[in-house]
């Protein structure tokens, strides 16, 4: 029996698979690092697409093609005439869809999850390499299918990324039957990719940690991805079910969401947000985990309150499943239920507050290195604070009656998703790029990119709070059509100009990214003098990662430990013979 089990282990571990070479490496490789890079490059490509869509829709808001000018002409002289209202609806729908499903999720989970999990837990590959590679191809297919909507009759889906029924499910109402169907099909396939990734990650993290690496010695990045995987595993299939119902309603005459035939439009919202709220945390938890690691490395300090951080993330994971109704306070959902969701939503703000205080605690007393990665991580904390605070307004049911579906919410989620997730992604790219490619990114270009991004980001998104409080609805193609919004138009134009600045600043990043592949300074094994296991191997690590499975003796954040010659202790560094079993942190193994 034991020999059978052992053979399975070899089969499953991926040590058994051959290293692919040449161009085949990028198609058939089962190596988690290659798959992670495939995710990275693909989603950076989608980032350009999503950004271009954003700039187009911002242009329309500043200079609407439907604006009635003082002389009676229709169309602002500076407008782009090809942006009609329907196309505008498609623009923001696809901008959100691309950014959520094809950029932020795959960057955080697909790229960094795949690349870092096996390295950080000291194993050779994911539990199921073949499923891992399949997941990438499903992801790519889902993106192409969704974007194909732009080239079919009726155009791409234009019902918003939330695709509320019955607008999305009755062709006569939306005029984009084909595009909407492609959208739902893409979401379904994207969901399959997510689920494949999720059970792979969970299996890997539970079963394949290096000896000595108890759960409470896992870096927060791994913890965050572990919890995220559970959220994906349990939330995404519900969206898949809803997406299937949408396709059936739209194409095969079923009536799940069609009130004319007994269906329930609010059912779509419940199913969507049952997925949609965990999804919010799916997009921020890995960012929190990676930003924590970056803050610790460059403050040369252990994470402040490691266990509090872990329990806060677990709490977020649980609570994330019982707050979905706060997206529906004004949908007409049962009003007492709304009140209950209001309370649970306020409660879920607590773990986020705990995390913020612990981040501050982490940089307290540190010896802070202001690398580009660190600057981005600090920006992540600051922007997450603003995004979190604006969330409290929406969580208050009465205030929600006023700010619901205004630009205030648009400002809020961009502060969390761009200010939070994207800054954390930049921090992570600057931190782990040397590991991935063996070369450093250029710090000067990086700092210019960071400064421009930070400034333009705030110039772009902070005024949206004002526009929203001023009463501007989201998802309208032409604010000048409304008398009460015309006084806000200068801000809208200012936001658009800032957005253009923000968009073009990213070209510096792309230039830096691709230039450094060839011309960056060689990185060496551990350029940041960090402690976790990925820094013990070559950059980039070879096939199979570890020549010998490492044994872990320390927690993940042993920085500035007194009495050591260096200011960091690698996780696999054997304890000095005389140190014995002194402090708990140095015990070779402790219960997880």
């Amino acid at each position: 029996m034991s020999t059978i089990a052992a053979s399975h282990v070899a089969e499953a571990h991926g040590h058994g698979h051959e290293e692919a070479t040449g161009w085949k490496k990028y198609i058939w490789s089962l190596d988690h690092k290659i798959i992670g890079l495939q995710y990275l490059f693909t989603s950076l490509g989608f980032l350009l697409v999503g950004g271009a869509l954003a700039l187009l829709l911002r242009w329309q808001l500043a200079y609407p093609s439907t604006q009635v000018m003082p002389n009676g002409d229709v169309g602002n002289p500076m407008s782009l005439p090809f942006i009609n209202p329907q196309f505008y609806n498609a623009l923001f729908t696809m901008h959100a869809t691309v950014m959520v499903f094809l950029v932020v999720m795959p960057l955080l989970i697909g790229a960094f999850g795949n690349y870092l999990i096996p390295l950080k837990i000291g194993t050779g590959d994911m539990a199921f390499p073949l499923i891992n590679e399949l997941s990438y191809w499903f992801f790519l297919a889902s993106g192409l299918i969704m974007l194909a909507g732009f080239f079919v009759a009726g155009g791409a889906a234009a019902g918003g990324w939330t695709s509320y029924a019955p607008l999305s499910t009755v062709a006569a109402y939306n005029g984009t039957k084909m595009g909407q169907t492609l959208w739902a099909a893409g979401i379904f396939i994207n969901g399959l990719a997510s689920i494949m990734g999720a059970f792979n990650y969970i299996t890997t993290i539970v079963n394949m940690r290096a000896p000595g690496l108890g759960f409470f010695r896992l870096p927060l990045t791994v913890w965050a991805l572990f919890i995220t995987a559970f959220l994906l595993l349990l939330a995404v299939p519900v969206l898949s079910a809803a997406g299937a119902m949408l396709i059936l309603d739209l194409n095969f005459g079923t009536s799940f969401f069609n009130p004319a035939k007994g269906g329930q439009p609010l059912l779509w919202q419940h199913l969507f947000w049952f997925f949609g709220h965990p999804e919010v945390y799916i997009m921020i938890l890995p960012a929190m985990g990676m930003a924590s690691d970056v803050l610790s490395i460059f403050s040369r300090k252990p994470i402040f309150g490691y266990k509090a951080m872990v329990f806060a993330m677990i709490a977020i994971g649980f609570l994330g499943f019982i707050v979905w109704g706060h997206h529906m306070f004004v949908s007409g959902m049962n009003l007492v239920l709304s009140a209950a969701f209001g309370v649970s939503t306020m409660v879920i703000a607590v773990p986020s507050a705990i995390k913020t205080f612990n981040w501050l605690g982490t940089i307290w007393g540190g010896s802070i290195r202001f690398t580009t990665a660190m600057l981005n991580a600090l920006a992540f904390v600051a922007m997450f604070v603003i995004g979190g605070f604006s969330g409290i307004f929406m969580a208050s049911t009465p205030v929600n009656i006023f700010v619901h579906h205004t630009y205030f919410i648009v400002a809020h989620f961009h502060y969390v998703l761009f200010g939070g997730s994207i800054f954390a992604i930049f921090a992570s790219i600057y931190t782990w790029y040397p590991k991935m490619f063996g070369r450093m990114l250029d710090e000067t270009l990086g700092k210019i990119h960071f400064a421009l991004t930070f400034v333009f980001f705030n110039l772009c998104f902070f005024p949206m709070h004002n526009v929203g409080l001023g009463g501007m609805m989201r998802r309208i193609a032409d604010p000048t059509a409304y008398e009460h919004l015309r006084s806000l138009q200068p801000i809208n134009q200012f936001i658009t100009l800032s957005a253009i600045g923000l968009g073009f600043s990213q070209l510096i990043f792309f230039w830096n990214f691709f230039r450094s592949l060839k011309h960056g300074q060689p990185a060496g094994k551990n350029p940041w003098q960090a402690t976790t296991l990925e820094w013990t191997v070559d950059s980039p690590p070879g096939h199979g990662n570890f020549a010998v499975t490492p044994t872990v003796y320390h927690g993940p954040y042993e920085y500035s430990l007194p009495g050591h010659s260096r200011d960091f202790v690698m996780q696999n560094e054997p304890p000095a013979p005389d140190a014995g079993s002194g402090s708990p942190a140095r015990r070779p193994v402790h219960a997880g």
Binding site: P85, G159, P166, V170, Y173, G175, G263, P265, R300, K301, P302, F304, G305, Y306, K307, G332, S338, A339, V343, M346, V347, A349, V350, A353, I354, F357, L360, I363, W364, G365, G366, S367, F370, F389, S390, I392, F393, A395, S396, T397, P398, V399, I401, H404, H405, T406, G470, G471, M473, Y482, E483, H484, R486, S487, P490, F494, Y559, S560, D567, A585
Partner: protein, 279 residues
């Protein structure tokens, strides 16, 4: 981009609307708006002060603990007392906010509207507003969501005696100042939303349902815009209506001038669709 170019796209006409509070909360004319604004400012103060504190601490740490040669970082894994403190304080703040917010929510949404409230039915459609007012009897015909159809936007029974003297408009709402108004909201096709920022009021209008829990009392006269705030298709961006709050006698005069609806649905076709005019 020169700022003159920016300003040139704004006509004088556009500039004269909304003279006050042009970049901030619009004025409030709804009795419930005071509570909403109050909670808004409470949260703004709490979050504002906390944000200033957090950013000050952060900047102080960033400056004070920048890497300097010979000054090592402190080795600390945390502090349990601090964790307890900064868990407990937010719990109380957030719970207080939730409890207070729920109190107001209950007042606004769960309290029975006063008996003398003026009932007004508003049924959205792509892309306009069917509005139905009670006649002299002060009663609206009963609306049944399942009966809403193309020809019967309000889903009423044509034989309903309460509906005989009702009158309808398309995209035009007039409310008497100081009198409670109870809305009956529904939709003919997709989800629309009844949104008037000056009323601090948003409510989705879902097809297949009639929502009767929204009520308010306008405290000042004026002219406002009713906007659809739930994406409803390609004409969504200009699905707006006229909304006026006028003194009671003026309202009575306006209502008298409207002919009663003869059948259930002819009104939608006979009046001018305001919202889609000019497309």
């Amino acid at each position: 981009m020169p700022s003159s170019l920016l300003l040139s796209t704004l006509s004088p006409l556009q500039a004269e609307i909304r003279q006050t509070s042009v970049w901030w909360l619009p004025r409030n004319v709804n009795m419930f708006g005071h509570e909403i604004d109050f909670i808004f400012y409470v949260i703004l103060w709490i979050t504002g002060i906390t944000a200033v504190a957090v950013f000050s601490v952060m900047i102080y740490f960033i400056v004070k603990y920048r890497a300097r040669p010979g000054v090592p970082a402190i080795h600390s894994h945390g502090n349990s007392a601090l964790e307890v403190i900064w868990t407990t304080i937010p719990v109380f703040i957030f719970l207080a906010l939730a409890i207070y917010g729920n109190e107001q929510w209950t007042q606004m949404r769960l309290r029975t509207p006063p008996a003398d409230a003026l009932p007004v039915a508003v049924v959205g459609e792509q892309f306009g507003w069917n509005v139905r007012y009670p006649g002299p009897d002060g009663k609206l015909a009963k609306m049944t969501a399942s009966k809403v159809s193309k020809d019967n936007p309000f889903g009423i029974d044509p034989q309903d005696p309460d509906g005989r003297d009702d009158f309808t408009t398309y995209g035009e709402l007039v409310f008497p100042v100081g009198r409670p108004v109870r809305l009956y909201l529904s939709s003919k096709d997709v989800i629309h939303a009844f949104y008037v920022p000056e009323f601090r009021l948003y409510q989705d209008m879902v097809p297949g349902r009639v929502y009767d829990f929204v009520w308010f009392k306008a405290e000042a006269t004026g002219h406002f815009q009713l906007a659809c705030n739930q994406l409803c298709g390609q004409g969504h961006y200009k699905m707006f209506g006229k909304l006026s709050v006028v003194p009671e006698p003026e309202y009575e005069a306006w209502a008298k001038g409207k002919a009663p609806a003869t059948t259930a649905g002819s009104e939608a076709n006979s009046s001018t669709p305001v919202a889609v005019a000019g497309r």
